[in-house]
Subunit: 351 residues, 4 copies
């Protein structure tokens, strides 16, 4: 199969580098264009980008010229991935949609817009139905699909099967998030060595809103949030990659720890039959050791696309407690967008 | 005032060194005897102890001979502080009680015993009434008083005024605990660098039980737990000193964030009038910056005896959310035991 | 004694905060004015400054208004300490000198200028003689005195007595420097967690040049470098405060490890008789434990003003090896400038 | 080709797990037997071993029974790799040699014995000639080959081409070593968070002696050290994997930085033609960025078998300065032993 040419917007930043790395040997997609802010114009990707990953920069991509963030510069490319920061994304992504591009965006800008799908393939692939609504509204062929915030992605993957089986009504989440989630330079070392920061700008609101959207449904007028309460404590800790989240969960139907483990153990996700290349064998892996999951040992499970769960036990306030680890820059960012792109291909949504 | 001679059991370990440091310039107490396991017998404290603190070892204590863990070796000393590990404490501490010593213990061994006071002076000084029961039961003048687990100490100090004002019914706690809580050598660096461990042996049970005991009452038969549910997630993070705890709280009476801040802001504790030397001016300090408390910046508040609270805000699942930092080796260990010793002096409990 | 009013230039930054903290209870000096860039104009120090230290911001200083970096705004103040970054210092400091101020600067800008003293009081207080030359050249009463780079300060304090006794000819230094040396935000956490950066901009050159200036002499034309070779490897490591330096030293005269320990052990410095308030009892402390000095345990020796030395042993390539720890933000920055200010007072250099 | 059955001694420890991981998909070798101390007897490897790596434990090996450290239990296996601690290795390894096994050992115990090859394939493969001497001395077919200490391995790989070209006479090395070098539990987190330890037991002596042995030669009576002086400063830093070393080098012939870069750039090693499966394409990689090598970014170069060099520049005391990073648990431990095993196969030394 001839590979589909794709573009990456915001390619030189931390998330953008993640896209380039994960797309390096992708069986379906080939990075044909990289775009970034004016500052990098005229340089090659290799020159413009301060490559910060231990995996080497793919030679071919290193030689690509940096294009402006302008849809005319990417004519002929059907699919672009957006690693743009929110303030740029809200301005640039619509210009690509107007010109007929399919945009799979990791940016936060349009996640809450009613007709823009916010999707994790294993959780709510049916939300892609919103594309029709989006096209009707805009009158354009191009459209935008988004993936959730890194922490929410991990939470939603674990909650989905539990919600389907036992109907959630309450979620208390306390996260311990890696510094890579803040980009580069991001968190100052003086702030995080020998320290915890019990606050991350905007993060708790994102977790609370996006979780309810992912577990919710869509109707002809747009997204409908699930009927459940979510309360989050977001903390930054001295970890490079991998967010850890402690969850206390309340359900409408009885759910013992054994029930939860069983349901999580067989979960393969709504997209399991589609054989998406980035989808891991298991979207959720339950470990039974008393001291797992740990970000350093578990973030790379399923090449970073599996969420690892452990410490499943009863909660004396709500019903169930557990801990999870999600790789924030793979499953929670570039990997999530790419798997959404694969879902779009399988669904026949690409021109 | 002539200073009261005190002994320290388990003086060479991490907690023991904490006692020696905090007692170095104590206005009421003077370390007159240090005891440790047989291994150290015959050495001076300075020789036996691998001093791990940046504050220098007090010269006078460094010259004290290491005594055996035997009450006969400490004859004439009215008060001993115990920094013994649980498995040794459960054997050794009763031998001191039998010989008439007052023991203020940081060990976990007898905290749940019905007639042994588990006390934080600002929270439940009235629980010392149990000493009478304990003496009646044992038929001895000597007695044992304990202070709670490090994390529980911080939680109880913050919950006490809120419980008095609004009556707690539910507590969900997620802790991020410093490595010093595990003693030395304790947590291996290979386990905690670039990592989180979502489990600490026995910690969640201690938080859940001891919090209810501290907020509970005592009657003629012993301790009665408070009527509230506590559910804890205990995590170890890459921090040297200072435990951070995220709390979601449910109350029987309405409590807005402003109400909570007001109540915490005026809290001085039940022992405020006693002028205990180790008691801080404020047992709880509320900071209103959005990113505080942080262990590195706030653990030393009130010379490590003040618990710092921040991020007081509503909770969509329960009623209130907040974060706190408590210095685990000061307020949560040696400092707590010492302040209990002071409370005993003020109460006239010492011979 | 009425305290001398002093100003702090660049007071809101990391180094500036260090000055404010160290001057809080200074017996001779009182912070009467704080100046910073235009951005902070019109605010109080407490509002303008994101206070990053665990020691609390002194109330009185918190209420001072932020002044512009203009000598006219500080009229009447005889002495100003400069915590300005180099690019600002090179422009602003001369305007203060022209207006007759005495400036004790931590900035790198004028350290190499021939008629500007580069001084550590215990090492080369006689270099203050250059003030006369500086005044002659400038035709102004005001003058500028500088203290060396943080790493150099620690190295020079240790080398001084050895050089006097055995005459150095070669120094190979490998430093492991704390992140606080880079200011705030400074080193990104993504760069230093689980990592070492074997390079610090400009640092090796500073160590090599400034060490030779401090151990050198002054004549009527200015500074003359000592006749010795210095070669430095500067590394950044995951430490908050305290630079560690490994030294291999070659001498013109025989020097055994015992000789070196003896010489370092009696060193009190050329300024010992002056009783400078910031000067530690011992400028250099030799520890004989095999695993010391360590930055976390030794950086606070002598309230951060003592350099701790250990592992003194023979070198098979040169003559002697040792390791040292210096507190980079105290002895190596604000504390060094303040002690220079004290030296100026004692020398009668202030108006 | 049928794979050669190999055994691993000390398989459950940190280094042993490294062997199991690296041998998991080895094209020539298959782990057929794992042995450990009595404590693990009767268990399977999966049960006995607390697997600490993020790469999963290979299923097949997990099911192998733990054998005693007894050659009779491994009858029929031609080659064993030893990950034993020194005090066990010195007792156990000879019992295997006596029974005719070929032992490729990572232990320190016999590295300095005159007739035991201490080998890095790219550096001194010709030292395998000592096997004949060893056999003559022992009268046994079995023999022992060792690889050097982790830090020395990295140093020797970089020094070899420089020594051949310019003849070294002096080496000053300052290392910043990862905690994984101390095994598990190894370095306490309380010792290394926010800290540096300027000492590692026995390390400096190993670096100094083994470097001279690797760059030396062998004659009919055994190993002859190279004529050069080596002086090492060994430090432990807060890094998980990857040792960083700063080198100052003196040569007998002129060597500019450009000369050194050229020589290092073309170095392929004495074993380049043998196509050893574990040998990287380039044993040494020179990076020209000013801030490399860094352990986190460079330790995995060449699957952990390439040593990365940077900052090649002149030294004002000796002739040349540079920094290197070597993956201590791959190239410096199990990977080194395995590549030695491959060298033995290619040389026809296996039965």
């Amino acid at each position: 199969m001839k590979r589909i040419q794709v573009g990456v917007l915001g390619a030189t930043g931390t998330v953008g580098q993640g896209f380039v790395r994960l797309l390096a040997d992708h069986p379906w997609f080939e990075v044909a264009a990289v775009a970034a802010s004016e500052r990098s114009a005229g340089k090659s990707f290799g020159e413009a980008c301060r490559w910060r990953l231990s995996a080497p920069l793919p030679d071919r991509v290193g030689r690509l010229p940096i294009l402006p963030l302008d849809p005319r510069a990417m004519a002929g490319i059907p699919l672009v991935f957006s690693a743009l920061p929110a303030d740029v994304a809200c301005r640039v992504e619509p210009t690509f949609v107007v010109e007929g591009f399919v945009v799979s965006s990791n940016a936060t800008s349009f996640r809450q817009q009613s007709d823009v799908p916010l999707v994790v393939p294993e959780v709510n692939p049916d939300h892609l139905r919103l594309i029709d609504l989006q096209r009707r509204t805009s009158g354009r062929r191009g459209f935008l699909v988004t993936n959730p915030n890194c922490t929410t992605t991990g939470i939603a993957l674990v909650l989905k099967p539990l919600h389907d089986a036992f109907e959630l009504n309450s979620v208390v989440a306390a996260s311990m998030q890696a510094v890579s989630g803040a980009g580069y330079p991001g968190v100052a070392s003086l702030d995080i060595l020998d320290n915890v920061i019990p606050w991350i700008f905007g993060e708790e609101e994102k977790i609370e809103t996006e979780t309810r959207l992912l577990l919710g449904r869509v109707d002809e007028r747009g997204k409908v949030k699930a009927e459940l309460k979510v309360s989050a404590h977001a903390n930054r800790v001295s970890v490079l990659d991998g967010h850890t989240v402690c969850l206390s969960l309340g359900f409408r139907h009885p759910c013992t720890p054994r029930d939860a483990i069983d349901v999580l153990g067989v979960f393969r996700g709504a997209s399991a039959d589609l054989d998406l290349p980035s989808a891991p064998e298991r979207p959720v892996l339950v470990r039974e050791e008393e001291d797992r999951p740990q970000p350093r040992l578990d973030r790379d499970a399923g090449r970073g696309m599996t969420v690892t769960v452990g410490r499943v036990r009863a909660c004396s306030v709500l019903d169930l407690r557990l801990a999870l680890v999600v790789h924030n820059t793979v499953r929670g960012a570039a990997g999530g967008s790419i798997e959404n792109g694969e879902l779009l291909v399988r669904g026949g949504w690409l021109p």
